[in-house]
Structures are given as C-alpha cells and as structure tokens.
C-alpha cells in the first residue's frame, strides 16, 4: 500500500485535492444526516416565518418593507422610505411590520434602514420558532456542526502539516501549492459549515417551492395592493426578485442582484445576515421545478365546459 506522505509533486497534489474533496463531501453528508428528520407541522399563516426560513432576519425585514410599500403603508422615493401617516402603525398586524413602520418614522435612508436592533428584535420569535422546529440550527445542532468542522480541519491541516514536515525532512521546501490547497479546502469548510438552514429546513423550503410553483408561474398576474397576500407569500418563498418589477417597482430597489455590498449586515449578527443575503441571491438554483407546474395540475373531476 502506498503511503500518501511518500507522494511527491503532482501526484501528491492530486491526492490532496481528492482528500480535500472527500473531506468536504463527508462534512456535507454528516451534516445532512444529523439534521434530517420528519417534516414538522408549520404555521403558514405568517409569511414572514417562511421569509425568515429562506433568508434570515435581514430578508424578513426586506420582505416586510416591500409588502408595506405594496400595501400603501410606506412610500419609497429616491431611495428613501417614508411613512404614509402615523396611523399606519396601528393598522398592521405583525410586529415586524409595525417595527419597520416605526423605523420609517425615525429614519428614511434606505442604506441605514435595516441597521436597526428594534426591527431585528421582532424577528427573534421567528428564529426561535424555526429553531424549535429544527428548521434552523439551534445550539445543539451548532455544536454538532462545530465538531464536524473541527474534525474536517484536523484532517486537512493535520495531513498538510505531516506532509510539510515529511517534505522538509527530505530536503524539499517547495510547499507553496500544498499551503494554497490546504488554505482553499479549509476556507471552503469554514465558509459552508454553518448554513442558515438545517437539512430539514432545506427540505421544507424545497417542498414549499414545489407547492407554490404555480404561484411563481403566474407572478405576472398578481395584482399590486396586497388584497390577496399572494405577493408577500411569493416573496417569502422565492425572494423579492420573484415579484415582477413592472407591477412592483419597489421590488427592484430591494432586488438582491442589484444591491451592492454596502447594505449593512448589522452588528453582532453579521454571519447569519450575510448568509441570508447570499442564500436569497443564490436561491434561483434551488427554486425547484423548471417549467412544470406544482403539485396537482390535474383538472379534477368537473365536467369539460
């Protein structure tokens, strides 16, 4: 049997690349296995719960803002958000919406708008609910992820160190490619060890996208004004960019793909907020279903007319 530490040159690099890929794959599989389970019952009457599942606290706030603009409680003009009138706060049901409206009383600057602990506090309940349902990682799941990461880093760094020491003992000091590869795989492991959702949360979101695919397919027919709640549900499940810009011009302002990195990730909540912006902008790959409509699509048993 070949001792991998005896490999040199390109052979060694290929081996390390295979090792790194295997470690990342195992990380992914172990995380999925430890986070899978029976789909829990979820209350879908609050679309912001789904928005939080999809994109975290920042995304929830953005969806709330666009919904409030659509329903006429907020006005977006020249990248400034303004409250229509002070009574609007009494007319909304959800705490996150009330918080967004109160924020509009305090500041209009869109760039600073979501950097608000007050609004963030109103989304904590969503996070706790989703953690309780194991759709977002709780403390226990986070510990398991850390363990998996630690094991992965131990293998990657440990092997790299052992290889470097072996190479040095043999008078070979050109280990720059080893360092680069090790840094690359460790970087990928660190970047993706703690995604926003658990495997169960991913599965539920995928299923929701399948169930709501018909809504997405007819997005162009959704009327502005919020009478049906379909716009906010569409945003919650698929992202703000699922709304047609022609009917919902505010959606363009909040479109992930147009936003620059200047949007605040917030204070101590940096990681999840940045993950939320990444996951919502990358959501198109996991939107589920191409041209096929969602579940059903049959015509039922009504007579042909």
């Amino acid at each position: 049997m070949i001792n991998p530490l005896e490999l040199t040159g390109p052979n060694f690099l290929i081996f390390y690349m295979l090792l790194g890929t295997l470690v990342l794959a195992l990380m992914y599989l172990l995380r999925r296995l430890s986070e899978s389970g029976a789909v829990p019952r979820v209350d879908y009457s609050d679309p912001y719960l789904i928005a939080y599942l999809r994109g975290g606290e920042l995304e929830t706030m953005r969806v709330a803002a666009v919904s409030l603009i659509d329903r006429g409680f907020l006005i977006l003009s020249n990248r400034r958000l303004e409250l229509v009138n002070d009574r609007a706060i009494d007319l909304v049901r959800r705490p996150v919406e009330a918080a967004v409206l109160r924020r509009a009383q305090a500041t209009n600057d869109l760039m600073l708008f979501f950097d608000s602990r007050t609004i963030r506090r109103t989304t904590v309940e969503y996070k706790e609910t989703l953690q309780r349902l194991r759709l977002l990682p709780d403390a226990h799941i986070y510990r398991v992820r850390m363990l998996i990461l630690a094991a992965a880093l131990a293998v990657l760094i440990g092997f790299a160190l052992a290889s470097a020491v072996t190479a040095a003992m043999r008078g070979r000091y050109n280990i720059i490619y080893l360092i680069l590869l090790a840094a690359f795989f460790c970087g990928v492991a660190i970047k993706y060890y703690n995604p926003l959702r658990t495997a169960l949360g991913d599965a539920l979101l995928t299923d929701l996208r399948t169930l709501f695919q018909s809504l997405k397919n007819r997005a162009s027919m959704i009327r502005a004004g919020g009478a049906t709640g379909e716009a906010v549900l569409l945003m919650a499940v698929f992202g703000i960019n699922a709304l047609p810009g022609a009917t919902f011009p505010a959606a363009r302002e909040f479109d992930d793909r147009r936003r620059s990195n200047r949007t605040s990730c917030g204070g101590g909540h940096g990681c999840h907020s940045c993950h939320s912006s990444c996951s919502s902008s990358c959501s198109s790959s996991s939107c589920g279903g191409g041209g096929r409509s969602g579940c059903g699509g049959g015509g039922g048993c009504g007579g042909g007319s």
């Binding site: 096929r292 409509s293 699509g297 049959g298 015509g299 007579g303 042909g304 007319s305």
Partner: protein, 81 residues
C-alpha cells in the same frame, strides 16, 4: 351489457366519425359492431341530446388535459402507458 357495449359507448363518445355514422343509422352501426340484440335496441333509443352534450363535454375535457400537461404525451409514450 358487457365490455363490448362499454367499448362501443367509449368510441361513440370520443370518435366524431363513428358518432356521425351512428346517428345516421343507429341500429346498423350497433349491429356491425357485434353487439347483442338488446344492446342494439337500447342504443336505438339513446338519449340523443345527452349524447351530443356528453361528447362535447368529454372532448373539451380531453383538450384541457392536453393543455395542462404538454409533456404528458411524451412521458406516456416513453412509459408505453
């Protein structure tokens, strides 16, 4: 009443030409399909209004199925449904 009778009815509902021939001479069409005498007698007294409406309704239903599932024909062919 038998499978043959149901098959005749199915064709009557779906096939416009078969229905036209039937309406032109009901007894002859029924006899030529090998149906029993009592089946032929029943068909001679068929509810003509209902036949027209049912055939049209079934046709629209089939058309709506095709519209809803454009890929279904291919999948059906592949699966030899």
């Amino acid at each position: 009443m038998s499978a043959k009778f149901e098959a005749f009815l199915a064709k009557l509902y779906v096939d416009d030409q078969a229905r036209s021939r039937f309406l032109a001479d009901r007894r002859r069409e029924a006899l030529s399909s090998g149906l029993a005498e009592d089946d032929c007698a029943a068909l001679e007294n068929i509810d003509l209004v209902g036949l027209e409406l049912a055939a049209n309704s079934f046709a629209r239903k089939r058309a709506s199925h095709r519209l809803r599932r454009p890929a279904s024909k291919l999948s059906h062919w592949l699966k030899s449904e």
